[in-house]
């Protein structure tokens, strides 16, 4: 079919600003990173002349880096899982609860996003440190002898990340549950299902698109989180994002840092694709 040129131009014009913005500030830098990851390490310069596979060789030959990827993935998995467990009931309440709760609850869920991530992460150091509020209180009450190791470990990072990313889990699930016709639950009840069964067989599977979106968001955000892991993990526990920044800024190894950054992106992408495959919903199409 022949479409008049004017009509074809319309949609293009509409997406042009976003496309240009993304092209210039995302795609081009990304390509630059890909190229950078194959460059030779430099002496006093960001990179040397010529190309090499050595940066990737270094990554795969040193178990230290593989271990870091695994740690980062684990932190991502656990953060995502905890956000799901903690966030789902809240999302359900926001979608289906009493209207008085809904307005307040919605404000409460969104309010952490109004405070900068640096400030929130510092807040957690005040709470979680060896001399922090939690340890001092517990010691003061005589419940523990010495401080619990809440900071400079994966536990502390996960606690803080869960707090930071919880809204990104709650909001998509809430909107998915809001999209479920309440008469479906009524129909399940009329067919003999208890409230629990009707939730398990109807509401939960139908909110899967929200769960899927929330999990992908939180997981990806956890993998790439930098501020929280670097403040709470300190020097002892490092995630990939922290190591990448170390390589780029502290040790000035741009090619190797680029290779690390890409390996992080690729592993994250692989996990997301596998997750998408596992949670494919035939009924949606």
């Amino acid at each position: 079919m022949n479409v008049p040129p004017k009509k074809r131009l319309g949609p293009l014009l509409l997406i042009a600003p976003a496309a240009i913005l993304l092209g210039v500030f995302l795609v081009l830098p990304y390509l630059n990173i890909v190229v950078m990851s194959f460059r030779m390490p430099g002496q006093g310069t960001p990179y040397g002349p010529g190309f090499t596979l050595g940066n990737y060789g270094k990554f795969f030959s040193d178990f230290f880096y593989i271990q870091q990827v695994i740690n980062t993935l684990w932190i991502g998995f656990l953060t995502t899982f905890l956000c799901l467990i903690l966030g789902y009931p809240v999302a359900w309440q926001l979608a289906r609860g009493a209207s008085a709760f809904r307005a307040v609850g919605y404000a409460l869920v969104l309010s952490p996003l109004l405070v900068g991530i640096v400030i929130r992460s510092y807040g957690w150091t005040i709470l979680l440190g060896n001399n922090g509020i939690i340890n001092r209180t517990l010691t003061g009450w005589g419940l523990i002898d010495g401080p619990l190791p809440l900071m400079y470990n994966a536990l502390g990072i996960i606690i803080a990340l869960v707090h930071v990313f919880l809204p990104f889990m709650i909001l998509p699930i809430m909107s998915a549950i809001q999209g479920i016709d309440p008469s479906l639950e009524a129909a399940a009840r009329s067919l003999g299902a208890s409230k629990v069964t009707s939730f398990r067989r109807i509401t939960l599977p139908l909110s899967l698109p929200g769960i899927q979106a929330g999990c992908i968001l939180v997981f990806v955000l956890s993998l790439s989180a930098y501020v929280t892991p670097s403040l709470i993990g300190g020097l002892r526990v490092k995630t990939m994002a922290v190591t990448v920044v170390d390589a780029l800024i502290d040790t000035f190894q741009w090619p190797f840092g680029s290779a690390l950054a890409l390996m992080l992106s690729v592993t994250g992408a692989i996990v997301v694709v596998i997750f998408g495959r596992l949670t494919v919903m035939k009924w949606k199409a």
Binding site: D181, S183, L184, A186, A187, A188, R189, S190, L191, G192, A193, S194, T197, R201, I202, P205, L206, M281, K282, W283, A285
Partner: protein, 347 residues
């Protein structure tokens, strides 16, 4: 088969009763409609029968046993919702199996019963489809099948045809009625469509403002309405006024004999359905009152006339289009005395 008895059932949300002490006895296998405008309490009543709403007061008995305290899932009802409420993530087969699985029916029997019910709603071969792959009418039949396959005590339908187009709606009316007769299940049907209620029901319960205005067969409701509200709700009606004297009401149609105790001199309202009036040419020599045609509307099988009688009384008349009368033409109108139904004294 189950007899349902509703006794002084009341629902109050705190702003005055939405359902006000209504009582209905529904016989085994009876098809009963709750008819009324939105907000009349018909849906609330259905929800209380189903168990989705708690009754503020009163009793609901299935075969004599009060079920007010029994939760929805233990009431053994089959319900069809206005929007069908098919589970979108399950195939037709899974939708139909759901209620049977809840009853722990063995797998073999589930298969047999699904095949049987699919045959009954003429959807054999559709078991692997998802709801979104079905037309509105097909979804409707799956919803019916899902409610019936569990062989419930009663079948409850909440405006099930409201979302269908006119032609399909008429088909489904007949379909549901036939199916209900064949299965012989006690059925409560909620609708605001009087034609639907009349064509399908054994008896119709007309509700206004949380109260029952009238319970009766479709012809009771239509031909002998309990009051003006009912008369006007179930179809078009002319209200003819006249003074009572000597057991006759003198109206623009002439003297109409009435039975019943009406004091002489009282002003009475008589209901007269548009199709009860006969229209004749002015020169036909028949008995009747003179009237002038104000306007007419032709709709194929019928013609609607607006006529003006002596004293400026305007009536609507519906006839077959055998003889057409022009606007402004003088005609004779006649209605049999037994088609005038007294509604009581005019306010």
């Amino acid at each position: 088969m189950t007899e349902v008895s509703i006794e002084k059932l009341t629902k109050d949300y705190g702003q005055g009763p939405a359902v006000n002490s209504i009582s209905i006895r529904i016989a085994e296998g009876e098809f009963i409609s709750l008819l009324g405008p939105s907000g009349c309490g018909k849906t609330t009543t259905l929800k209380m029968i189903a168990g989705f709403e708690d009754a503020t007061a009163g009793a609901i008995r299935f075969d004599g046993r009060d079920v007010v305290a029994v939760p929805v899932e233990k009431r053994d009802i089959g319900m069809v919702f206005q929007n069908y409420a098919l589970f979108p993530h399950m195939t037709v087969e899974k939708n139909l199996a759901f209620g049977l699985e809840m009853r722990k029916t063995p797998k073999d029997e589930i298969r047999i019963r699904i095949a049987k019910v699919l045959d009954m709603v003429q959807l054999t071969g559709y078991s692997e489809r998802y709801p979104r792959q079905l037309s509105g009418g097909q979804q409707q039949r799956v919803a019916l099948a899902r409610a019936l396959v569990i062989e419930p005590k009663i079948l409850l339908l909440d405006e099930p045809l409201a979302n269908l187009d006119a032609k399909l709606r008429e088909e489904m009316r007949v379909f549901i009625r036939d199916l209900q007769r064949r299965v012989g299940i006690t059925t409560v049907y909620v609708t605001h469509d009087q034609a639907e209620a009349m064509t399908m029901s054994d008896r119709v319960v007309v509700m206004f403002g949380g109260r029952i205005a009238q319970i009766g067969t479709p012809s009771d409701i239509y031909e002998r309405p309990a009051n003006l509200e009912v008369a006007e709700f179930v179809g078009q009606v002319n209200i003819i006024r006249g003074k009572v004297g000597n057991r006759v009401v003198s109206t623009a149609f002439g003297d109409v004999p009435v039975s019943g105790d009406f004091a002489d001199g009282a002003e009475l309202m008589l209901a007269l359905r548009p199709e009860a009036v006969e229209l004749l040419p002015i020169n036909s020599g028949a008995m009747g009152a003179q009237a002038k045609v104000l306007s007419s509307y032709y709709s194929g099988s019928l013609v609607d006339y607006r006529l003006e009688l002596a004293g400026g009384v305007v009536v609507n008349v519906q006839t077959f289009p055998r003889t057409r009368f022009a606007d402004g033409e003088q005609v004779l109108v006649h209605a049999p005395a037994d088609r005038f139904w007294p509604l009581g004294s005019a306010a």
